[in-house]
Symmetry: D2
Subunit: 339 residues, 4 copies
Amino acid sequence: MHFFSDNATPLCPPVMAAIAAADREDHGYDGDQWSARLDAAFGDLFETPVSALWVATGTAANSIALACLCPPYGGIVCHEEAHIVVDECGAPGFFTHGASLMPLPGEGAKLTPDVVAERLAAIRPDVHQVPARAISITNATEYGRVYTPDEVAALGEIARTHGLGFHMDGARFANAVAFLGCAPADVTWRAGVDALSFGCVKNGGMVGEALLFFGPERERRAAEAMRWRKRSGHLFSKGRYLAAQILAMVEDGLWLANASAANAAAQALAEATTGRLLHPVEANELFLRLSAPEAAALRAQEFDFYDWGAGAARIVTNWSQDADSVAPLADALRRLDHG
Amino acid sequence: MHFFSDNATPLCPPVMAAIAAADREDHGYDGDQWSARLDAAFGDLFETPVSALWVATGTAANSIALACLCPPYGGIVCHEEAHIVVDECGAPGFFTHGASLMPLPGEGAKLTPDVVAERLAAIRPDVHQVPARAISITNATEYGRVYTPDEVAALGEIARTHGLGFHMDGARFANAVAFLGCAPADVTWRAGVDALSFGCVKNGGMVGEALLFFGPERERRAAEAMRWRKRSGHLFSKGRYLAAQILAMVEDGLWLANASAANAAAQALAEATTGRLLHPVEANELFLRLSAPEAAALRAQEFDFYDWGAGAARIVTNWSQDADSVAPLADALRRLDHG
Amino acid sequence: MHFFSDNATPLCPPVMAAIAAADREDHGYDGDQWSARLDAAFGDLFETPVSALWVATGTAANSIALACLCPPYGGIVCHEEAHIVVDECGAPGFFTHGASLMPLPGEGAKLTPDVVAERLAAIRPDVHQVPARAISITNATEYGRVYTPDEVAALGEIARTHGLGFHMDGARFANAVAFLGCAPADVTWRAGVDALSFGCVKNGGMVGEALLFFGPERERRAAEAMRWRKRSGHLFSKGRYLAAQILAMVEDGLWLANASAANAAAQALAEATTGRLLHPVEANELFLRLSAPEAAALRAQEFDFYDWGAGAARIVTNWSQDADSVAPLADALRRLDHG
Amino acid sequence: MHFFSDNATPLCPPVMAAIAAADREDHGYDGDQWSARLDAAFGDLFETPVSALWVATGTAANSIALACLCPPYGGIVCHEEAHIVVDECGAPGFFTHGASLMPLPGEGAKLTPDVVAERLAAIRPDVHQVPARAISITNATEYGRVYTPDEVAALGEIARTHGLGFHMDGARFANAVAFLGCAPADVTWRAGVDALSFGCVKNGGMVGEALLFFGPERERRAAEAMRWRKRSGHLFSKGRYLAAQILAMVEDGLWLANASAANAAAQALAEATTGRLLHPVEANELFLRLSAPEAAALRAQEFDFYDWGAGAARIVTNWSQDADSVAPLADALRRLDHG
């Protein structure tokens, strides 16, 4: 059984069905009937007007969002272990034309208001220093931690008072909402988020993430984002196949059902190995202490996963699993401790 | 019957079958078994070692190729009606960090050696002027014209003697080869081409084009291209679905069969309307004189297509058609003249 | 006697005196007393509030202006022989992060409203094409031609109606105003110009040109320009020496006196060789038909100048000359025709 | 007496004399006789072939050097308090087209081999992470500390083994060499440095710093740097005035004499206030604990300087001072402790 990554899984059947249903003649690029439904579909989901675009990947969604929120001479406050910092080969610098990332520490890859406020206070208001122009957070974080609506709102308030754009990398947004049980609106625009990278691929999709803009500037920013999308080679000539996947995710609640299944699987594993956890398990990722012999023992039982440095491992669950289906690994983990 | 664009068509069945076959667990990004087969598949097709990458779109393929061939302070010699000039919202300038396009005239959107040589000779060898560093041509061109191996080789020789990289935009490369009946190698690397954007989507694919590098520098350039692919958000987390589509195209000759069908459809229409043609029909596009009433008459018979300025129209055929299936439009065109 | 370029001349004495006068302790960068006077000095000269910055060169002034007027995905309408197109090694593309130059033809390197309007009308309003966002003209032009206030205003009206920024490269602005005898305001902001590169170095300065912003957005744009100036390494640590030179030029009318002298010298030469002129002589440059033997004959008399292609030459006069001082060349030119 | 910055001082007389001596007709840009002497002058000083360019500022020198050493997708290892990180408004990101700075801690703004090696070891060799491609250090550092030849060589060895370019920001290089008493070569190319920003303005110049390339790739890199210089608007049309200043500095040892005077002044002050020093004084900067009342007391005696956060101050000496001339401040500092 594989726990490498939620990138490694097949498509969930409704997504494949949506692709097949979109497989007929229609206008190219984003001129098709599916793309035309995106704004309304996300507007319903978020209970507010939304400007939505499909793009190829989460890296593209994050980078285009940041290019719309931060000028080339600006800075983007973010966590030092954020995906935009460590796993995108400098894509934000490419799309923003050289804006500076301003990485900060924080437990579980979460930013805290105090650390952000202190960083902002340290910037001299002259032309020699890079002015902060945006904040970017990841929810759920790279360590599977979840920001609550109040935690997001506290950062949103700092963004508002400092005139910064506020972006959320939601590659695993569904897992965060599934954990919180809140309205998607509560942890995004109601908390001050201007732009959201809404992940679909890790949650059962094939290709295509959604970039969402909220608030009064959403249309101006989306119009600019459409320029960046074309300019960066992300305006697919048969965009309907992306739009159809995204609609399949959001129009019937599939996004949340899939994430809930993955989270449940993660919780089942967490309960089996509480003593080893390096971070509380809130979404669909577990980080746990695991010695080399223990890792080898699990792999001998055909459980695959990535090491996470020496003596630790990362286990990622996905939409195709649930508490029952991961029981074999849960049992194997228990045996490590109570063999 | 629609003749808007070869972007508007459904997928050809083998491509959809390949997507379904790839729908199982495998490593993410380009670590899967399908992506691993690309170099060999294109190596067989082109009879030479090839370094191949999948990217999202033709715009991305063209731009990444140019970023690997031309420095930011360099210039790219191209046709003034090339896709990179008029239909990519400045994407080459984005990926190359500001390289200058050097547009030149030429019948049927084809560059000729004389015009290119004259342009190159006019550049002063000082730091004040932008030095040409690459040539980019489109085959088949934006007007459906095809460069022969000799015509490409003549430009390739100029590129070689001036130390310029040589790129071919092959969004409709299959249509060009189908018309020429030559080996793919003859009209590319044997003629001096360093990088080829190998189109799949217009030819029956869903998403994903191939970027190919030939020659002694191919591995260095491909390694750099992989950085640009990631950096521009084109490294899909489930790349196997793109690789599988591309392999379905090239491993069994589907790419050429599809293009031959589209070309045959275009020839059938061309024969029906020779007197109106603005350009010789060599690939799968027709540009013809058509008055507003004539266009209206055809549309009244449910033939759809784009106007091409006043008094002209563009008709594009595709993989799903052939001479027989477009007979109704052929007849309708004949009736316009011999009503 | 040298007629290579107005770049080759020494400083005019008041500029050297101003440098010496600024040679004392003061705050660094642009925090000094001379830099603080720039806005007011240009405000007086242009009869309107002005936001002024010193930068190193005309290329920097032009590029920073364009970066403030045009987004990376926009286009800049300009003449195909403009300095920004042919003599800045792509600097506008560097500062604008890849904006596209949209070169147009026109006699004497002058843009005409019809040609500009036609180019703008040809741009499709979709994301595939680069939208024009700015117009840039050079006054006096690269061929020493001068735009009148009415000619500038006609282009300014097009800029206004299309929402384009309007930039003027004034490397030889003083020569243009000296020829026109109008108020500087008439040929700039009153005619719709948003940003002016005000040249000093060709007119007797050592280092430092002024970048001026007019109109309601001047402060926002200047604030952004200050970011670009720092970011591009143009915020000198001893900026007072640049500011002092510029003030010496504009506070006492030196800029106009110098240009008038250069223009008078050019007129004296023009009268001596009317039959050979390739362009009317309006500023301080002459372009004339001159055979190789004739050029050799002049050089044998120690008159230096650059060839301008085969059978032609460019002669540039400067602030240190006047009608009398160039009489020897005038006589030599007459002798060519009436030997 | 002012101790704000070595940017605030007048020119040293030989530099002003050199400007006057260059004030005659010569070819423009870098085609003059002074610019032609730069390579040889620095070749003599560094005992090795050197390719030298003048640029406007230290920010430009640093950024152009980094653009020649690091690709847009690369990373630059540097100190978290380096000028390129905190005082250039992101200029390195602008010139490198988005390369990532990789800031590291270190006492006195000095990088240590261990910290650098650890950072490099943490980078995964895949396309998701930014690969380090350059190291940049400042000598003397932003805290007036000096790297010894051995310390530079240890970092140079890391650069060599990892295939990284090695840049030294020498805004106060003269002060470092004056402190070390070594050959300039020992602390640069002999220690593995590829590119040096050789500062002149803080050391008595008006405008113009030198960018030097050493080693087998120097000519290729300098040729590229000349493109960046033009492209960034730093190719002055009367470059001879910059070249003449730089030659005045280096051809007769003025650079070292000026720095020695500034260092001696700093030492005299250091001896007067050893108990307050936050960093050892090695070059021409002192950072000392100073309460608000103490700072006020010194300012009341007309000693000016910048606060350095709460309870501290920065005092900078310059070429126009020496131990005797700063005695009044030395006495005043002593009185603070032994009033």
